[in-house]
């Protein structure tokens, strides 16, 4: 016999005029190797078919299922109930717009983020289908991949004190993305151009250094290092920028 688990789950369906935000209690007997993916699907299929939540790959790869699990953002699919106490409280992630219950709209938020940081290779070159690829060292490819592993789950945003206070704040995921392109020799943007993207109070200078982002990243991306590097680089660009203006006035 497994443990009797008690789930406190946030419920609200904004499309239902009769619905008000509240917590609802569910009970489920724990089974061997149970994850929150298994538990939530059983609750929906056996107890309440209106329960809203998101899963896609159920393998920690796609980033769909982030939620607040006993107060901490994490991927539900890789969270095993045996690592949790008998009482489990599930809430939707803050910052993102609620779709219903545990489901939030990360899609619109991340599309906006990708547009803001112009998350693509900026180059004057045109692809030549007949040409050999441009060489790159394997070490550099691996360094880029290290940062490219972000799955846009939103955990770092949900855990960020600044993002919770200030909706315009770009968040660690955006800074990590910028750092990824700065590493990439194929991107021709200068530091001054990156400065235009992140050199603001909603950007890197707005970071309070609380580092909740690093603590919760399910892919263990070294966010703290990226924030530090970016802040130094952008600080330097900022000074150049300032002097540039002073010189320009003369």
């Amino acid at each position: 016999m497994g443990r009797p688990l008690k789930f406190n789950i946030f419920r609200y369906n904004p499309m239902d005029p009769g619905s008000v935000p509240h917590m609802e209690v569910f009970h489920l007997e724990e089974t061997d190797a149970m994850t929150l993916f298994v538990a939530l699907n059983r609750l929906r299929e056996e107890q309440d078919p209106t329960l809203m939540f998101d899963f896609v790959c159920r393998a920690g790869i796609c980033g769909s299922c982030a939620m607040m699990i006993n107060g901490k953002p994490d991927l539900a699919c890789h969270t095993k109930t045996r690592d949790l106490p008998q009482e489990i409280t599930l809430m939707p992630m803050p910052v993102f717009k609620l779709i219903g219950d545990l489901s939030v709209d990360t899609g619109s938020w991340f599309r906006g983020m990708n547009e803001k940081v112009q998350s693509w290779i900026h180059t004057q070159k045109v692809f030549d289908p007949k040409a050999q690829e441009e060489p790159m060292t394997n070490e550099r490819a691996e360094e880029i991949y290290e940062l490219e592993r972000c799955i846009e789950c939103g955990c770092c945003v949900a855990a960020c004190g600044k993002a919770n206070m200030r909706p315009e704040f770009m968040g660690a995921t955006a800074f990590n993305r910028v750092a990824r392109f700065m590493l990439d020799p194929r991107d021709e943007r200068s530091d001054a151009e990156y400065y235009e993207v992140v050199g603001t109070d909603d950007g890197i200078f707005g970071c309070l250094g609380l580092l909740g982002c690093e603590d919760v990243c399910p892919k263990k991306i070294p966010l703290q290092d990226q924030l530090g590097i970016l802040r130094r680089k952008m600080g330097f660009s900022s000074i150049q920028h300032l002097f540039g203006k002073v010189f320009a006035r003369k």
């Binding site: 896609v56 890789h78 290779i121």
Partner: protein, 619 residues
Amino acid sequence: MDTFYTDLLCVGAGLAGERAAIAAASQGYETICLSLVPPRRSHSSAAQGGMQASLGNCIMGAGDNPDVHFTDTVKGSDWGCDQEVARLFAETAPIAVREAAFWGVPWNRVVAGKGTYFKGGKQYEKVELKEKEHLITARDFGGTAKWRTCYTSDGTGHTLLFAMDNEVVKLGVTVHDRVEAIAIIHDGETCMGVVARCLKTGKLRVYLAKATIIATGGYGRIYQETTNAVINDGSGAAIALNTGVVPIGNPEAVQFHPTGIVPTNILVTEGCRGDGGTLKDVNGERFMDKYEPAKQELASRDVVSRWMMHHIRLGKGVPSPYGPHLWLDIRHLGEKHIKTKLRDVEEICNEFLGVDPITQMIPVRPAQHYSMGGVRTNKDGAAYGLKGLFAAGEAACWDMHGFNRLGGNSLAETIVAGKIVGEKIAEFLQGYEVNFRTDVVQDCVKKEQERIDNIIKGKDGKENAYALRNEMQAIMFEKVGIFRNGSDLKAAVEGLQKVYDRANHVGLRSGGVGANPELAFALKLKGMVRLALCVAYGAYKREESRGAHAREDFPERNDRDWLKRTLATWKEGDDLPTLNYEIPSKVWELPPGDRGYGSAPIIPSEDPAVIGGKKPENK
């Protein structure tokens, strides 16, 4: 009702859909992508090990070229593929991989000098050439003559999808995520777009498009044990089938991947075996070297999966509460290799199994993995049956995979087909006009709205959609699996027909208000059962063994009678698909012969157009 007009409508925004969108949008055509989920969460992201392209940069790939890739692909397909398409694919794959590099994919690169690699548990030495240093490297995969699979660690699908979606953002292509197409708008001749349901609000929408492409991936979720994501329910193929005029090609061609983890069926990449991992049994002994002396663990997936099940049937499986399994052993590859080249595998094993693959073996068993079948198209990606409808990627039967897809050829297909078909769509759109007939649009919307109302109110009955799904999945798993036979398949068809009948009487237990997940599922259940029936009935009728379709009662590959592609259509009111057949290839650059692995008896073709005047050797 919200109505959107566009030149190209991409139903599905994984790699194939987005690549096609880029092709059309970069030529100035207005393009909208619909996606069940934010595009970067598409199942393309879960592809791990890599994509095949014959760059020939690494020393173990030296001398590779599109000819060799073509030959491997045709052999892999067990001569079930369209050879014109396989040729087009092999020629384009190197361009596609370099284009992906241009868009930012951090492909692993050649490191010059001495290095080691593993094969069959033994270590060997290799020396990478100085002149190839820093070019895109490749790893070994099953069923290939050369090391050809380009990769970024084991997150290749993820990096490709991020690079592709970056281009989509850059071009400003509109993406409507959490929108599900539930019916194709057509008049029996021309496709005009789709009726869709917003999965944020539950509201219906109309999308009117000159061209529509189905790129919704496979239908693995008709099976109980699958590596596929929960969204891979074949909804795109189903709405095409529901038109009554668009056929599903080779639905019975279903791939089982050798290494799904036990339990949960999460995939661990073929790269594990490509990099030298071995399969072991309850006694800790290898067995693939005995069954397949030449290719060993790296025979094609259909062959390895069959030997694994055979070995388990001999009682050599490892007993577990989840049934017997085998072991995948990558311990000898070492910590450094696993932590750099197989990172996701390490993470999946630790997080989902509590197994450390550096010191422990991984419990694995074959699980459903890939649908070779799909919306049948011509080599331009145009669907049979409706003008203006296209398909690409796993959702399509283009058909380069025939009866077995090689590992690394699915990622490659997504971006190669996306590019080729997208460019063909742009050509099609040039000067093309379509009449959006308001009567047809209104009829389609009315029918869908009525269907929704009836399910919500339970007008036709109160059948539980999830319970019916479980019955369907169990039938598919037990009777339409790796080894098939006539009596099981007949029972499967009959069982599915009963499920299908009950699927007409689904009613909700919830109110169906807003983004209600039960309604979303209930709406697609009938289409899923139709697809399951296409698979089971197609398999029942195909009285031979070819690639992944292994009939115990017909063990021969029968080129004389069965060198043909199944085309399944669905007439409204029927409870079975209508099956027709066509010759799989117009050209026979490589006449049917022995694959070189998974040796099976062959009944040779007698058609001079196929065998080129020569009779293949009968083994």
